[in-house]
Every structure is written in structure tokens, then in C-alpha cells.
Amino acid sequence: MESTHLSQAVQFIFAGLTSGSIYALVALGFNMIYNVTLVVNLAQGEFLMLGAMTMISLYSGFKLPLPVALVLSTLIVGCVGILFDRFAIRPLKKPSIMLLILLTLGGSTFLKGVALLIWGKDPYTAPTFTKLKSISFLGASFSPQMLWIIGTLVVVSFVLWFFFERTLLGKAMRACAENPRAASLMGVNVKTFVMISFFLGGALGAVGGMLMAPVSFMVYDEGTMMGLKGFASAVLGGIGSYPGAVVGGLVLGLLESLSTGYVSSIFKDILAFVVLLLILVIKPTGLMKRSDE
């Protein structure tokens, strides 16, 4: 009896960490774009869906080797991010916050429409990255994909930390975010960094989607809910904070899986809204205060 309780708890926790890691990746993508441009990109979830769909097509349709399909999809969606900036955001002469939000919302609908044209309404899935059947731990059993998901989040977090804390390029990107004009005066090409941020935003979304594809079904409009949960995670952790995105994503994932497991599954999808509203009312700066404030 004791041990089934334990294994059940372990199962819930790992399930939470797994979906939480995906939310964290979406939230990191949000912050990547927000930090440099102050654009709250409501199409972030669509980047995730596009990453998954592209990867599935390249792998199952075009029969490319898995690693090639993964890398190519990341690059392709990164480029979609750049195009998004180039054709939707940059042409704006006088961008206001409201206009930008509407624009990214329009962009999200557009990307969904394109996905509907290409992939139709059918759900797709992908094989797990490794052939192992499942892993047992403390009486609970997991898909090996879970290790890929959590491992990728760890690696991505480390790479981002290294980039922003240890390289001048990363610091220049932070400088752009804080004061674009002063950064230009130092010779930083702000437009290039805006482009890089949209590329990375797209790429991070794609990575989330590709990791998720083997453990769930991907449909053309799957991005909307994921985008919302990623956004809730970013706000929960403190919008703009990278550690906050990771913490926010994991906390939301855990809350969802524990409430689904112990209370009822009806909470699963409304929880993100509740968390979003609560944090905006109680502590709008999020759980993790940014080091620069």
C-alpha cells in the first residue's frame, strides 16, 4: 500500500516535470523575444506546433534520419520566427503594445491556417527518440522520451545561462534589451539581435514541439493551448526572466499533474488560467525577481 502511494506520487511528479519542461521551453521562447523587443508573442505556441509537424513530416514523410529531421525543423521554425519579425513586426511604423499583441494574434491565426492547409485536421505523432520500451523507477514507469525532454531543458538552460552570463555577445543582447539606443552607440547592431531573438524564439518553440510529439498527438491547433500555458509559465516566473521561465514551467506542470492525479482532471486545462490570474493579482512581477531589478 505504502509503496503504491509512493510510486503513484513519483509517477505524477515525473509526469508534471515532463509537461512542465515543455512549458518551460515555450516560456523561454517567449522571454527571448520579449526581452529584446518587448513583444509579447502570442504565436509562440504555433512555433511549437510547427516544430512538431515539420519534424514528423521530414522524418515519417521524407524519411530523413531522426537527427537530421530534428536539426532541420529547428532551423526551419527559427527562420519562420525571422520571417514573422520581418513581415509582421518590423513594417510597423509606430508600434504600440496593443497593435503588437493584435499582430502576433493575427500571426498565430495565420500560422494555424497554413498548418491546416499543409497537414489537415488529422492528429500526428512521432516515434520516441530512443527505442527503449519504458523505464522503471521506484515502482513507477516512464517513457524514455521523458529523459529526453527533461535532459533537453537542462542543456538548453545551461547553454542560455552560458550565453547570457559568460559571452560578450550574450551581454550585448541583454544591453539591447535594456537600452537599444545606448547599445547602438556601442556599435551593436540592434536589428541583428532582434532577428536573432526571433530565430531563437522560433527554435526554442520548435524544440518543445519536437520533444512533445512522441508522447502526445499533434494537431494544427495544438499550439494555442501550449502557447497559453507557456505564457502562464513565463508570467508565473516573472516575464523576461530565464530562470523564472524554467521555474514557472515546472511549477505549472507539477500543479497540473498533481491536481489531475489527486483531485480531478477537469482542472488540467483551466489551471493555467487560474495561475495566470492569481499571479497577476497577487504578485505581477512573478516568482523570480529579475537580478536587474
Binding site: 541583454r174 544591453a175 545606448a182 547602438s184 556601442m186
Partner: protein, 238 residues
């Protein structure tokens, strides 16, 4: 001629902020631009730096036309601006702010040379060495101004343009800043200095310009301007 600005006009929407401004800076000079609030001094520097595109006029630097060049290529040519209000990167440390100054050349510069530049800044402003791991946003106003100048210096400019470096600082700190400017000049850096502290600026300057509502209304040697009736009554509180 190191820098020459020829009949430069700048508009903000429909409003004309610069109305055909011409100005010259020779190598090794300290040139001071005086003018009341809203005269267009910052606008002038921002357009030389390439931040504000100019619709009319011509800017030459070291025999290159820079009128329509990007801010980054202008920095690479050797013009660095220390902007009004310091504009240090508050969320970066003092040392990282200084490193940001090296942004346009750090890939090509040997590390030892950058270290030497850093030592030069620390010699000018020893306090920055003490504060090097501190977030720039937590520095005092005077320290931020020193940091802004230090950051500019790390860019290895031939021409440094300073926009009101003494603004809002205590008299002792102002003195230190002006002493540093003289030191920079004797290191071989040419200075274009915007100041409301007209007396102090003209004392260290070689030549000066007076700007009013987007126009240069007077120019001359600094010692002459210090005695000019209009300058004395309008800017020297006499």
C-alpha cells in the same frame, strides 16, 4: 579636418530641430557646443552618431562620408558618443559595461591590448576598479558618468562626443570630470563637448559654438567666447 558637418537639418515628424547646422572639429581639438535647453545639441550628436537619419546635409569624418552610415559603422570609424544622462547598462556590472565598449573591436583585438585599455580606464577612474563587480544601476550618479566615459574610452575612439557630462553632479565631481577630459585630450583623443556648464567647458576648450533653436548663432576661439557680451549675459550668468 577630422569632423565636418555641413548644413545639417533634422526633423522630428513635422518639427525641425536642426536648421542647417555647420560645424568643424580638427584633430586634437576640444570643441565645445553651448546652448540652452531644447537648442538641438543632443539632436546634433545623435545625428552624427547615425541614430537619427538626416534628411539634408552632409557629415564627413576622416575623409569618409558618414551621413547615411549605420551607428555601428560610425563607431568602427572611431566616433564614440557618451550620451546625455549616462545611459549605462544598469543590469550589467561595471566591468561588463566597460566590455560593452569593446563590442565593435573585441573579436579582432588581442586580449592583452583590451586589458591595457581597461587599466587605462582604471587609472583615470580608480573607483571603477573597486566597483567592477557591482551592477551599474546601483552606482552613484558621478560613478555612472565615469563609467559612461570609461565605456566610451574602451571603444578606442579618435573622436569622443560627450553630451552634458557634468549634468546633475556635485561641484567636486564636475571638477574631476573636467580634469579627466583634459587628460583624455592629452592622450590624443579629440573631444566634441556639449555643456550647459559654459564657463568650465570654455576653459578647457580650444573653440566653441553657440546654438540657439536649431541654429549655430556664433562660433569662435574659446577665450574670445568667454569675453563675448552675448555669451557672458546668456550663458555665463554675467
Amino acid at each position: 579636418m577630422m569632423l565636418s558637418v555641413e548644413s545639417l537639418s533634422i526633423y522630428y515628424g513635422g518639427i525641425q530641430a536642426l536648421k542647417g547646422v555647420s560645424l568643424e572639429v580638427k584633430e586634437r581639438e576640444i570643441v565645445s557646443v553651448l546652448g540652452a535647453n531644447g537648442a538641438g545639441k543632443s539632436t546634433l550628436l545623435m545625428s552624427i552618431s547615425g541614430i537619427l537619419p538626416s534628411r539634408q546635409g552632409k557629415i564627413m569624418f576622416d575623409n569618409n562620408e558618414i551621413t547615411r552610415q549605420s551607428p555601428s559603422s560610425i563607431v568602427r570609424l572611431g566616433i564614440c558618443q557618451v550620451p546625455e544622462g549616462r545611459e549605462v547598462f544598469k543590469s550589467l556590472t561595471t566591468l561588463d559595461n566597460l566590455r560593452m565598449g569593446t563590442y565593435h573591436h573585441y573579436r579582432k583585438s588581442p586580449k592583452s591590448l583590451v586589458e591595457k585599455d581597461l587599466e587605462r580606464v582604471y587609472t583615470l577612474f580608480p573607483i571603477l576598479k573597486q566597483r567592477r563587480t557591482q551592477m551599474a544601476g546601483t552606482l552613484s550618479g558621478g560613478e555612472q558618468q565615469m563609467l559612461a566615459i570609461g565605456r566610451g574610452l574602451m571603444a578606442r575612439p579618435k573622436l569622443m562626443m560627450l553630451d552634458e557630462p557634468s549634468l546633475g553632479l556635485a561641484p567636486l565631481v564636475v571638477e574631476e570630470i573636467f580634469r579627466t577630459l583634459t587628460a583624455l585630450n592629452s592622450m590624443g583623443i579629440t573631444l566634441l563637448l556639449i555643456e550647459q556648464n559654459a564657463r568650465a567647458a570654455l576653459k578647457i576648450a580650444t573653440r566653441g559654438y553657440v546654438m540657439e533653436t536649431g541654429k549655430i548663432i556664433m562660433e569662435g576661439r574659446a577665450e574670445d567666447l568667454l569675453e563675448n557680451e552675448h555669451v557672458v549675459s546668456a550663458y555665463l550668468g554675467g
